[in-house]
Symmetry: C2
Subunit: 549 residues, 2 copies
Amino acid sequence: MPIEYVKETYQMQLKPLLMRSVLYFGSKEGIYSPDHHGGEFTCTWRDAYGRICRLANALQSLGVDRGDKVGSLAWNTHRHGELSFAVPMMGSVFHPTNIRYGREHLIYAVNHSKDKIMFVDEDLIPLVEDVSEELKTIKSYVIMTPLDKPPQTKLSPVYSYEELLRQASPVYDFPDDIPENSLAMLTYTGGTTGLPKGVGWSPRSMVLSVFGLIGPDQVNLCEEDTVMPVVNLFHINAHNFAWATAMLGGRLVWPGPHPSPEDQLSLIEKEKVTLFQGATAVLLFAMQEWDKGKYDLSSLSKVYSGSTAPNQALIEALEDKGLRLHWTYGMAEGRVISNTVTSRRKYMEGWPKEKYLQKMTRQGLPMPGTEVRVVNLDTGKDVAWDGKEKGEVLVRGLWTGQEYYNEPEATSKVFKDSWLHTGDVAVVEEDGYLYLVDRIKDIIKSAGEWISSVDLENAIMDNPVVRQAAVFGIPHPKWEERPVAAVVLKDEYKGRVTEEDIISPLRFRFAKWWLPDHVLFLDELPMTGTMKVMKRVLRDMWAEGKLKV
Amino acid sequence: MPIEYVKETYQMQLKPLLMRSVLYFGSKEGIYSPDHHGGEFTCTWRDAYGRICRLANALQSLGVDRGDKVGSLAWNTHRHGELSFAVPMMGSVFHPTNIRYGREHLIYAVNHSKDKIMFVDEDLIPLVEDVSEELKTIKSYVIMTPLDKPPQTKLSPVYSYEELLRQASPVYDFPDDIPENSLAMLTYTGGTTGLPKGVGWSPRSMVLSVFGLIGPDQVNLCEEDTVMPVVNLFHINAHNFAWATAMLGGRLVWPGPHPSPEDQLSLIEKEKVTLFQGATAVLLFAMQEWDKGKYDLSSLSKVYSGSTAPNQALIEALEDKGLRLHWTYGMAEGRVISNTVTSRRKYMEGWPKEKYLQKMTRQGLPMPGTEVRVVNLDTGKDVAWDGKEKGEVLVRGLWTGQEYYNEPEATSKVFKDSWLHTGDVAVVEEDGYLYLVDRIKDIIKSAGEWISSVDLENAIMDNPVVRQAAVFGIPHPKWEERPVAAVVLKDEYKGRVTEEDIISPLRFRFAKWWLPDHVLFLDELPMTGTMKVMKRVLRDMWAEGKLKV
């Protein structure tokens, strides 16, 4: 028979997600946020919708039309949240920009995206003033201040967010006919190697990501939850938490401008937050503060982290508090891919604690909606599930990106044969758990075999004299590459440790050919803004003879 | 700016849903089913996949190609489940047929769908033999028997399911390129008015329905669950439970051939079922059996019903056992639309029990992913949320049907302006809860006002002398229509009750103009196969003078 088709003209839209809270939980306090100048903001879902409509009218009056880009440089506040709801619901494109970009990257991202308006938090104005002459497409600035007038600034023309809202009508007719695969959001990569690259998101991918998130084996999100997304809105994976909370009639607590660990924990206590979402590094800082014993965090029942893998100590500290850390592996190009915890892993019951904690640091199983392959770096064939054979992680799925925005060359390198080539190197354990062991650009090939720089680093950092370590490959005439360790000692050990002191404990754990050829003792390692070691810089320094054995 | 689009070629597919169990929960016992001849069947997800591949090869060898229709007349067994997985994954179309159809409807549905092969359960062979000469498109029959040879039958050519599987290869390469909106399943309506009508389902609507189902405020489905779908697979809403269970790595317990309430409860006990899904009527029978105290049903934590609204006694009986009844409002054309329970309805805490139980009989709030309007029957405008103004329920959403299969005329009557016109009459309560009060064809219009036949029936059935009641409208020269009540008395009251005995309790609850003009005492009411009163028949009988006052 010829293939028949089912009529399916109903498009995936963002508007019905928000409208569910507005209609059915309209009188519930839906939004809370600390504000600038020590204020605080709270409102019902119905009132939040009134503000979102006012914002849409204000945007329209500033000339924002369908398809136009609206940029932001802002913290996670209620205003930034309102912008994240209003812009894509208008059929325009929301582009939250990374507040940690350097000058060059900020200019590049805003010009590449062609943002028409830029929304800026009060305390971030200097960052924008510094680059405003280079921003080619911005027609006006809106300062996200509670004040009627924007602060003194050279940005021009410039408006006050609240004043714009006050002047605008609280009624707006958001369109129902936005194509589900039209561009609704743009987020740019961190730019650790080269210039940032944009990834575009549609209503379709956002709706699918929201539905993929809420299940009990994933984030387990429900109407009862009070959700605090600490992950900044310039990361795409902050957005599905906000939209999901709206869809379910939950409650959103925005952490407000530049939240410290103290601010975060005080908010959890005061606003009875049930779900905390933050990067692993943010969670580590929060735990240090938590251990001071000053907070009643008994409302908290769900803790989600991402970005870098948590260490066992963090997982154990949370388990001691009765909380299981759910952590998800993902990336700017692929959103959330896998997570460690499923509701039941019965065979783990009765495992020794050490083994269990180690397992919980793994990247886990693909989420429903994503497909994962790990392919041998040499043969391109799927690796064995033996915890040993290394390969690159390939991903595709319902909300995985399929291209960079207006970057055909970069796209062709990363998105191939329908799969996103993540550049992550992993093994697959016997039960299918994904375990990342390196980045492709950092893994070391020696005599045709692969050496994991991450495994060596972790082992070196187990040495109590070591504060920080990075292992990188250097060219070798016979073996192709050989590992070298760069080590920062703890202050009290500086000058008192030999290369052999570092290498000898490794002999018990690794084959001889894995051991680094050299150990370099450095005062510090070159770091990115997101606290990752820049191994590329170490390799360049080695090549230039700047690192001495 | 012109609208830009995001590359999104990844299609929603059914195969990755099943493959997640096969890959990551492959050694887990995934399927259990009682079998014909008192046997039982159990296997892991990996072995289930082997059988599904064999089935696909067998189907191919019987000439089933992409787009071909595969029919079934069968109970919910593991074989029927395998067929429900294999056929749409091949790109063919699965058409499970209603085993309760009469001869005419069975012939009509199979011919209308153009089924090429028909899979038949052993004990249902006589139903098919009775009509086989009228089935125009069937090329062969497969008997779903554990035996090597099919039983003696005049169906021809005929094969044994297990023998076909034994001869087939356990390796099959299911395609990755099935268009997401291609026809994957066909289910036909009950045919209570006129001939059955087909509704087509695509991989897209099925995937969306599965994701829409699993959230904690909905079915709350996770890997830990052992799911028993008692709703027969010829109802589309049985399928999302099976696919969702596969996607999450849960466990499926099929209830097997013609399951009695005893069978269902024994299975819950024996297989430690956590989630029971059955029509309200099925659940009522199960409760009667449960109350005999013979079963340990402590594994059960989630009970879902559908079809007709549960009464307060059922909800209370379950709450007494520590179970909250989750019931969902839906229909053949729209799948699941709304449900009563959300995780939190804080304002209900402290309500009088009676008020709470009454609320739980309502149709509740639209699920995330569906949009609901209730429009005044006269003006077409959205009704007030006052629990009084009546209107027709309109639905649209991510998995709502948008047409009947090859029925343009019926489609144009029911699917209009992007909304499914359900024919249900409802009010909306203050908190947005939907409450169905009638069917459009049964509601009575008198002097320009609407009288709910359902409200009157419920009130009449509160009278302890009444076994059953139906209220229907008769034409009236002045008031347009007037209500008439048809009443079946309990045996002990027959001949001892007057019209006034029935009417007088109603005077306290309804305005005078609501009271039925006549009360007809009948020995029985005309019923459908699904135990609904056929009011159309009552109206016809009245018109023909067959009902006497």
